[in-house]
Amino acid sequence: MINSMQMALIKKDIKSITANKRMFSVILIVPLVLTVFMPSIFILSAYFVPEETSDFQQLLELLPSSQQTGDLTRMIMALTINNIMPMFFAIIPIMAASVMAASSFVGEKEKRTLETLLYCPLTLKQIFYSKILASFVMSMAVSLISFLGMTVVTQVEILLLTGSMLLPDINWVVILLLVAPAVSLIAITMIVRGSAKAQTVEEAQQRAAFLILPIVLLMVGQFTGFILISVWILLGFGAILAVIAWIYMQSAMRKVTYEMVLN
């Protein structure tokens, strides 16, 4: 499906990001804050000042009875790991995919290297699919590493504080296998569609920032005790996103022409 020429392009795109210290540090810092510092703060405050976390009260009441263990500290910790963190985590693939895709499409256009690529013996679609794949692989890699990093850090903290671990539940499987890939693809496609109009990388990234809005709305809903993101909601949400992502990407690819790219 992917030939050696496309593979060369994918490797080059990934190497371009990892070699660019400024871009790479953006890709690393955001996940570090979201998956290491934030859950640590929640866990530590749940342990040391559980009464201060009364904001979670409404949310805790929404928990199914099987999870109402009576130990407030561990309940808050479980809520943090399995209900709150997944929403923050969804920002990571959006951010990584946008930074990567903006550099891959608009960055190349800005530096006038995109036209050179168009003169190679690959169809325009092959070039675009390779670039989308490079951004997608990078976004998934960052997401997976962030998840592993978060799990190691939070589990060690919980183990040290409470004596036993609180492993991530099935929500995370849905997040990693469905939601993260879908939002990555949507973010990449938004950048690709905007790449014809955007003249700078920053301009292109701003468009993808809008994607964070629905996630913020979900967070507000969650924190105010309006909804509890259960695995079923997450699964439905992920499936809808995946369908949107696929249709959105296919329609964007149908419209791609050399003229549009070079505009």
């Binding site: 020429m5 190679c120 013996p121 050399y258």
Partner: protein, 305 residues
């Protein structure tokens, strides 16, 4: 067999801006074709049409039998392009850039490395091959672009202003290389430039374009025949007999027009026989530049469209 054929090719942008109007020409194998005209004449549009980057509004073109508007990727396999908008990666070295583009054209890793090394030496970039492109001068970038366009040994090379930004020495070595490619490898070269003197040094045939209209096409002799095939003789003498039809251009300096070199000795003899002293005689045919301006003049006068 013709390598590049343009058949009544037209391109209109935004429905009103006609960049090319019914342009037709054909180029043979190993021909160095100079596509000449001022900025904005339609040269870059033509390169983009011939490479499938733009779709023609009317007409069609073929490059080695392939229609670039239908199969651009197949056409790119046999063509190399140098334009100022096709740059390479600043964070890679010259050598890494060439190897990357080699693999992008389906050439294996080790073969790409060998070809990159040969081209870097050929273009005098061997000392800078491990420097990042960000440290390259404009001239070095231009030469590396040429190396990049040649890495897959194309049958047709499209060069848009290839010597802009080059110092005279580099420009000369690039010229020699283009000539050599055409002569030894049979590469067809489509060269766009607005520097007419430069074009005259390396091209074997020409297409003169202005405002999207091809004014003329052919070898320099064919183009001269369209305007004035004779010669202009400049004579520095203290006196010229009145019966010789001349045009005074300065102190003791006269210009006469003749059909061929054979017409010059009788004129000289006549001046000497009548007691005139001759200090200098130079004869020249119309340069490409003069032909070009004469044709533009003719077109603007309403004679051609």
């Amino acid at each position: 067999m013709n390598t590049v054929i343009a058949d009544r090719l037209s391109k209109t942008y935004a429905q009103t801006n006609k960049a090319l109007d019914q342009v037709s020409f054909s180029l043979g194998k190993g021909e160095v074709f100079g596509f000449l005209g001022p900025n904005g004449a339609g040269k870059t549009t033509m390169v983009k049409l011939l490479n499938g980057m733009l779709e023609p509004t009317e007409g069609s073109c073929l490059v080695c039998g392939i229609d670039p508007a239908v199969h651009p990727e197949k056409m790119h396999r046999i063509a190399g392009v140098v334009t100022e908008h096709a740059q390479m990666y600043d964070h890679l070295t010259g050598y890494e850039n060439l190897v990357f583009y080699g693999t992008l054209f389906g050439i294996g890793g080790s073969e790409s490395q060998t070809r990159a090394q040969i081209l870097l030496e050929r273009l005098g970039l061997n000392d800078a091959k491990d420097k990042k492109l960000a440290a390259y001068s404009t001239g070095m970038r231009q030469r590396l672009s040429l190396a990049r366009a040649m890495i897959h040994r194309p049958e047709v090379l499209f060069l848009d202003e290839p010597t802009s930004g080059l110092d005279p020495e580099s420009a000369q070595s690039v010229n020699q290389m283009i000539k050599q490619l055409a002569k030894e490898d049979g590469t067809t070269v489509f060269l766009c430039t607005h520097q007419l003197r430069y074009a005259q040094e390396i091209c074997s045939s020409y297409g003169l374009i202005d405002e999207g209209v091809l004014l003329a096409q052919g070898t320099i002799e064919q183009l001269r025949a369209m305007v004035f095939s004779g010669m202009t003789v400049t004579i520095r003498a203290d006196d010229i007999p009145a019966e010789i039809l001349s045009h005074r251009t300065g102190v003791n300096e006269y210009e006469i027009s003749v059909e061929s070199e054979e017409d010059i000795p009788p004129v000289i003899r006549q001046i000497v026989d009548q007691g005139g002293n001759i200090y200098r005689v130079t004869a020249k045919r119309m340069s490409l530049e003069e032909i070009y301006f004469a044709l533009i003049e003719e077109r603007k006068g309403g004679g051609r469209r």
